[in-house]
Amino acid sequence: MATYQYLIDYFNESPLLIKLAWGVSSALSVAIVILTLYLKLIRATLRKRDAESAKFRKDYEATLIEYLYSGSENGTINDLQLTIIEKLKASVPIKSKRKIIISILYNLMNEVSGEMSDSIQTLYYKTGLYDYALARLKNKNWYIIAKGIGELTRFKIEEAHDLVEPFIMHPRHEVRKETQLYMVNMFRFKGLTFLDDLKAPLSEWAQVQLLETLQKFDDQQICDIKPWLKSKNETVVLFALKLAKIYNQFEVKDTLIELLSHPIKEVRVSVIEALTSLYGIEAKEMLKANFNELSLEEQISFFGLLEKLVVPSDEPFIEKHLFHKNFEIQLLALKILKSINLDKFMGLSKSPKSKGSKRIIKFVNNI
C-alpha cells in the first residue's frame, strides 16, 4: 500500500514532461497488449478459415470426381449427377466457396481433355457459376469486369460473345486486352475481326499474347490480313506484319511493297523484315534505288534482306557499302561479299582502302 502511495505521490510531484512520458508509455503498453490479443484472434480465425477451405476443397474434389465418373455414355445428365449439381449449387452463392470451386474446376479443366473437359464446362453452367461471371460484366469496377471476361475465357464460354464483345472499346486497356484474348481464344482467327476498327493502340505485350494464343490451335487457317495492313492504327499494321511473317502470307506481298512508303519508320522497318522472310525479291531493286533516302534502321534491315536474297548482280551495290560508316551495315556487306565472291573478299585484306577495317574482315573471314 505504501509503495502504491509512493508511486502516486512520485507521479503527482513529477514535472509535466515526465508525467507525459509515463502517460504515453502506459498508453503504448495497453495498445501492445490489445494488438497482440487482436493478432492472436486474427491468426486463429485465419487458421480456422484455412482449415475450413481445405476441408471444403477436399469434399468438393471428391464430389466433382463422383460427378465426372457418374456420367452416362450418351452425354445426358442422369439423376445422380443432378443431385450432385444441386448439392454444389448450394455452395456457389458463398463468395469464398465460389472462389475455391472455380479454382478446382479451372485447374482440372487445364489438365484433362475431351468428354471430361466438356463435363466440367456443363457443370460450370449448371451450378450457376456462369451467371455469376455474367453478373461481373455488369459491375461498375473495371477490374471486376476484366476478371469476369478472364473467367469466361478460361472456361471457354462461347455463348457470352454478345455480352463480352462491347468491351473491346472499353477505356481501360486491361479490359480491352481480356476481351481481345477472349475473342481469339473462342473464335481463333475469326476473333481477330476486332482489329478492323480498333482505334486504341495494341501494346507489344497484347500482340505477343494474341500470337501465342493463335499458335495453340491446330487449325492454322488464317483469314485475309490485307485490311489490317492498310489500317490507320499503326499498331494494327505492326501486328498484321507479324502475322504475315509467322503465317507466310505470300499473297500480301504487293500490299507490303506499297507499305514501304508508310509514313511511320517503325512500320517501314518491319515491312522490310516481313519481306525478308517472304522472299520479297520484288522489293529489292526498289529499295536499292532509294537506299540513300532510307533511314539508318531501314538501311540495316535492307542489308538483312540482301543477306538472304542476294544474287551475283548485287555485287557492285555491296562493294559500294563495304566501308559504310555504320558497323552493322559494314559487317553485313562483308558477310554478303564473302558469300557471293570469296576471291574478292580475300583480296580485301590486301587493299589499302581496308586499312581501318582489318579486324572486322578477319572476324568475317573466321565465321
Binding site: Y69, N110, V112, K216
Partner: protein, 121 residues
C-alpha cells in the same frame, strides 16, 4: 491375384484424385505422392510396377525423379511423364534420362489407361 502398383506423382490434387479413381477402377493399386520428394520415398519403399510423374513439381522435379530412378536406384520401371504446353525441351530431357512415354496436358484419362496397359502388359 496381386494388384500391380503404380506411383502417381502429381501436385494437382484434383487430377491425382481423378486418375486414382480411374486407375483403381481398372484394378491397379495407386500410391500417391504430392511432390517429387514424396514420390522418391514411395518408390524406394514400394518398388512399383509403373511410375506416372508430372515434370513440374515442388521440391524435386519430375526430371530429378527419373534421374534418381534410373541412375541411383538403377531400376528399369516404366515411367510415363506428364508435360504441359511449352515444356517440349523438358520432355526431350526426360526421354534422355530414361522416360518411356509422355502425355501432354490436357490429356484424356482414357488414353492414359491405354498407355498404362500397354506398358504393363
Amino acid at each position: 491375384m496381386n494388384k500391380k502398383k503404380i506411383v502417381l506423382a502429381e501436385d494437382n490434387s484434383t487430377l491425382s484424385l481423378l486418375l486414382k479413381f480411374r486407375l483403381e477402377k481398372e484394378g491397379y493399386e495407386l500410391l500417391m505422392a504430392q511432390d517429387g520428394r514424396e514420390a522418391l520415398e514411395v518408390i524406394e519403399k514400394e518398388t512399383p510396377d509403373l511410375i506416372l510423374t508430372d515434370i513440374m513439381m515442388p521440391f524435386v522435379s519430375g526430371l530429378e525423379v527419373i534421374s534418381h530412378i534410373r541412375l541411383k536406384l538403377d531400376l528399369d520401371t516404366p515411367i510415363i511423364v506428364f508435360s504441359s504446353a511449352g515444356q517440349e525441351e523438358m520432355v526431350i530431357k526426360a526421354f534422355n534420362l530414361g522416360a518411356n512415354d509422355f502425355m501432354g496436358k490436357p490429356f484424356s484419362p482414357n488414353e492414359l489407361i491405354i498407355r498404362v496397359k500397354r506398358l504393363l502388359s
